[in-house]
Structures are given as C-alpha cells and as structure tokens.
C-alpha cells in the first residue's frame, strides 16, 4: 500500500463555486470540505451535474467566468491558493500539483510534437536546458510504457491513439513530480482494455513518485480500484465520505445506496435494475433542506432542514438525518443488504 505521510497535502474548506449567469446564480459547488493526505488516494464520485468537475477545476484555479470561486479556502501545503495571483498559480500548476483530463486531444497542442510538449513543462518549471529536457522527456515516455519513445516524441497528437495521448498527458502532468495529481475522468473516453492499462499506470506512478491522488469519476468501480477513501457528491455537496470498502459494502446515505444499486456490473446475474425516481434538482432554484429528499425513500419531515455530516464510523460521515442519534459503531444500515 502507499506510505502515508502525516501532513495534509490538500485541504479544502467550505469551498463555494458559483456560475454567475444573466438570470441566475448556480452554486455548482456549495460548501465542500475535502482533504488529501500525503501519498493518499482519494476519489470523488458523482453523476453529471453534481459539481465534481467544477470542484477539480477550482482546485487548480482553472475556473473561468462566469464561474467564480465565491468563498472558502483551498490549501496546498498550507498555502491558500485562492489568495494567489495568476502568475503565482502558474508557478504552482505543473510543479506542485497537476491535472489530467478526460479528452487528451483538446488539451494537447495540435501543432507541437508531443516530445516538445513534455519538454516545455520541464523547461519552465525545472529550468532544464532544452537538450536535457528532451532527453528527460524520452526517458519519461519510456516510463509511460510507450513503444519506441524516440519516434513517439517526434509525433503530433493526432497521429497517436487515444490511449497514447492520455499517456502523454500523464507524462506532462508528472514531469515535474508534483505532490498532488488530480485526475478528472481520465479514462472515460478510452476503450476498456486501454483503460485498464492507464489505470495501472496511474497506480504505479502514484506509488513510485509518492504523489497524492485525487480521482474524479462517475464510475464507481474505477474509484474503487484506485482509491482508499471516497467522497460522494450530489447537487454541489458531499453526501457521504469514508473508506472505500466500507462505503461500498454498506453505504450510509440513501443516494450512495441508490447509486450502487443502479450500477450495472458483470458480476451480478441479469436482473432488473433499481432506479432512482425523479431527477437531480435544478441548481438555480434550490430549496433549503436535503437536496436528495424528494427522491429519497426514507424521507422524513426533518429533511426540510439540511442534515449535517453525522459520523457513522471511523473517518466516515454521512449527511442524512437517519443517523442523527447513532453513535459511531452502531449506526444503522440505510436499507437491506444488497
């Protein structure tokens, strides 16, 4: 397993990110607390509209108007990123923390050879000479398990396959050995066999370079494969967070439970899928109270008040009134075992 250093690499507190539109203000991320320790792997799971991508981009301070960080703090090694200027952020991105994205083609420069794109990162952050940077880039390509690294380095992005491009993106991200790697749906656009290889690669690199990993995905299984802890996100807030094995085996929040129930897996025989009635709420017109209430089978009157995060186990909380009186070890399961 990973070696866990005591300090927190990333500490997000009460983060609020809004989209300020002409007719409304949409709170895409609405008061979120998240932390990642040294060498730790943490996942954020949610469907579209949950705000998870906005969260990832805000941590990197890549959110552009009409999106705005409206409150809270993002501490990387103790330094609050929300107070830094754009110039200072440029220094941080790539060297302290880096991100890999869903669609490599849109994030690679189509007119630069990929070897050069990796070298650029090395030159600007680690101040290497061009020749040194080129050689380091080729070593990196080898480390990324790309065949014939020298010819790949000469290639342009459109000449490579999806999986190869994703490896390049990973290469650019880790070239300067950042402490934190954020991966936003890194394999969604890839074939399943390629996905397996990329996940393995991320896994290896995270261990080898002692990085922390923040993995964002809608795919519960991927997060389970790579992460130790998970945050479940719904309508801009976290509804449950805890150790992966525990959360998946015995979810404490009705949404987590429903999400797991609706997931289609190979290992279960054919059956009718359980679905979640209704639809996610309109973020522009949120009512107070629990946001999952009108879709929740356990809805009670008190759900008109937003539930705080109740402890339901060690390092494990769930924002559901069902756990209001429970003590850590005896909190009830949300529903029947799956």
């Amino acid at each position: 397993m990973s070696v866990r250093q005591p300090q927190r690499i990333l500490e997000v507190e009460s983060l609020r990110v809004e989209y300020r539109l002409r007719r409304s203000i949409v709170p895409a991320v609405d008061g979120v607390d998240l932390s990642v320790g040294g060498g730790e792997r943490v996942g954020v799971v949610g469907e579209s509209g949950s705000g998870k991508s906005t969260l990832a981009f805000s941590i990197m301070r890549l959110v552009r108007p009409p999106g705005v960080i409206a409150g809270g703090s993002i501490r990387l090694h103790g330094a609050d990123l929300t107070t830094l200027s754009e110039n200072e952020m440029i220094g941080v991105r790539g060297s302290e923390m880096a991100m890999i994205y869903q669609d490599p083609l849109t994030y690679l420069n189509p007119v630069l050879r990929v070897g050069d794109q990796i070298a650029e990162s090395l030159i600007s952050h680690r101040r290497l000479e061009r020749r040194e940077a080129r050689n380091e880039a080729i070593r990196l390509l080898e480390r990324l398990h790309l065949p014939s690294p020298r010819s790949i380095a000469e290639a342009f992005p459109h000449q490579l396959s999806g999986g190869q491009r994703q490896r390049i993106i990973i290469g650019i991200a880790i070239a300067c050995r950042p402490k934190l790697l954020i991966a936003d749906e890194p394999t969604t656009a890839l074939d399943v066999t390629v996905q397996a290889e990329i996940l393995k690669l991320i896994d290896e690199l995270v261990v080898e370079l002692g990085m922390s990993l923040l993995l964002i995905s809608h795919d519960l299984a991927i997060v389970a494969a790579l992460c130790e802890r998970v945050y479940v996100m719904y309508a801009g807030r976290f509804v449950e967070t805890g150790p992966i094995e525990s959360v998946y085996r015995a979810p404490k929040h009705p949404y987590t439970e429903a999400l797991l129930g609706a997931s289609v897996t190979l290992l279960e025989p054919r059956s009718r899928f359980r679905t979640i009635p209704g639809a996610p709420p309109d973020l522009a017109h949120l009512r107070s109270g629990c946001r999952f209430a009108d879709r929740c089978p356990l809805r009670m009157d008190i759900c008109a008040q937003y539930p705080p995060a109740f402890p339901v186990g060690s390092n494990w909380t769930a924002s559901c009134w069902v756990h209001a009186d429970a003590r850590t070890d005896e909190s009830p399961r949300v529903s029947r075992p799956r």
Partner: protein
Amino acid sequence: MVSMASDRLDASAVFAANRLALLGLVLIALFVALAVLAPLLAPYPPLKGSGPALAPPREAHFFGTDDLGRDVFSQVLYGTRVSLLVGLSSATISGIIGVLVGATAGFFGGIVDDSLMRLTDLFQVIPRIFLSILLVALFGQTLTVTTIAIGILSWPGTARILRAEFLSKRTADYVTAARSIGAGPAELIFREILPNALAPVIVTSSLLVGSAILLEAGLAFIGLSDPNQVSLGRMISAALPFMRDAWWMSVFPGVVLFSITLGFNLIGDGLSDMMNPRLRR
C-alpha cells in the same frame, strides 16, 4: 441542472441587448415605413418640376430642388422605395438560387457537387459591373432587369455556405435516423437538414441586401438603371456637376443610402451574434 428560458426569448434577448442591432432594426423599420407611405408623404410628384431649379432646403421643399426643379424630398422617398425593392428582391433571388445550388451540391456530393461548384466558381469570377452592363444592353434598362442581374450575381456566396452546412450535417445522427424510418432524399433535404442549415444563410442574406442596394446605386450612377424610376444612385450621379452649388442634391440621397446599408449591416451583425450564443449557452 440549470434551467433555461425558452430558446426564442433568450435569443431575442441577446439581439435586444445588442444596441447596434436594435438601431439597425429601427433604421430599417423607419425607411420601410417611409417607402411604403411614399405616395402619401411625398408633397410633389418626384419626376415633375414643382418649383424653381436648384432651390435650397426650405419650407416648401424640405430637401430643396434639383436642376430641373423637382422636389428632392419626394425623390428621396420614391428612391428609397426602389432601393429597398431592388435590394430585397435581388437578395431573395440570390438566396433561393444559392440555397438550391448549395443544398444539392452539399447533399449529393460527388459529380453533382463538383459540377455545381465549378458553376459557382464561374459566377463568382465574372466581374459584376460588366455582366450587368451586358444584361442591361441585352434586355433593356428596366428595374426587373437590374434586380435579376444583381440577383444572379450574388448567389455564389450563399451557395458555398449552404453547401458547407449540408456537407457537415448530412451525416448527423438525426438524418440517419430519418433515413432509417424510410424518409427519401427530398424529405431529408427540405425537412431535416435545411431548417438547421439556414441560420448562416439568414445572416449573409441580410448583409447581402446592403450590398445589393449599393450595387443598384452603382449601376444607376453609371446610368444603367431605369430612367423612369427614381433611384438614389441616379440622383447622386445627376448631382455631380452641382456638388458645390447645390449640396442638397447629393447629400440627402447619399445619407439615406448610407443609412439603409448601415441598417442592414447592423441587423446582419446582430443576427450573427444571436445565432452564436445560443450554442454557447
């Protein structure tokens, strides 16, 4: 998710927010009103002398009189009519031709596309003035000939735009879906793709009206327009010898011409902006 107001409300909101586009709309509305009401508003018949020659603007003649004693204001009103009529008609003609050619080329591709594009090239290369002169010489100096001449000279741009739209949209899933339930080529062109492809055409067409009006004025300026109709271009042409002494003969038609063209251009720009944010939104 974010709820959206109905698409049309949003789009016209963008248009409305674009002050310049609104200005364009106001201008054109004004001129259209003037043109339509010309018979009612014109104090004198435009082509008959109604006062002393070369009289400056005053109460009896708002815009003064020209060298033949004809009221400039009345002429301007009727001239606006002609400009708008020619501009809109020729833009419509070129629009129709452009759409038919572009849609056919873009949808069928292959040899059909190649031949139609060569035809388009041909029409684009011909100098407009020379062709107009030729047509007028052949068919006479009437408003109809002018309109048709301008119409058949302006369609290549529209055709290319529409062809590009068709090329990109004909492989869209919704088109394939229509094919899969048994729709034929005519249905696919007119019911499926065309409604989605018209947006850029509408924009260029409004800009085209502006340039058609200018072209008509140009033709009139060099004497190729119908002598029995008032034309702003002809007015300016006739005012040349009197530029210094009777500024009102050229300035008023000039300002009107400029304003009409500006109005259509502003509307075109506004429409162009309106089409885009809808996608971004």
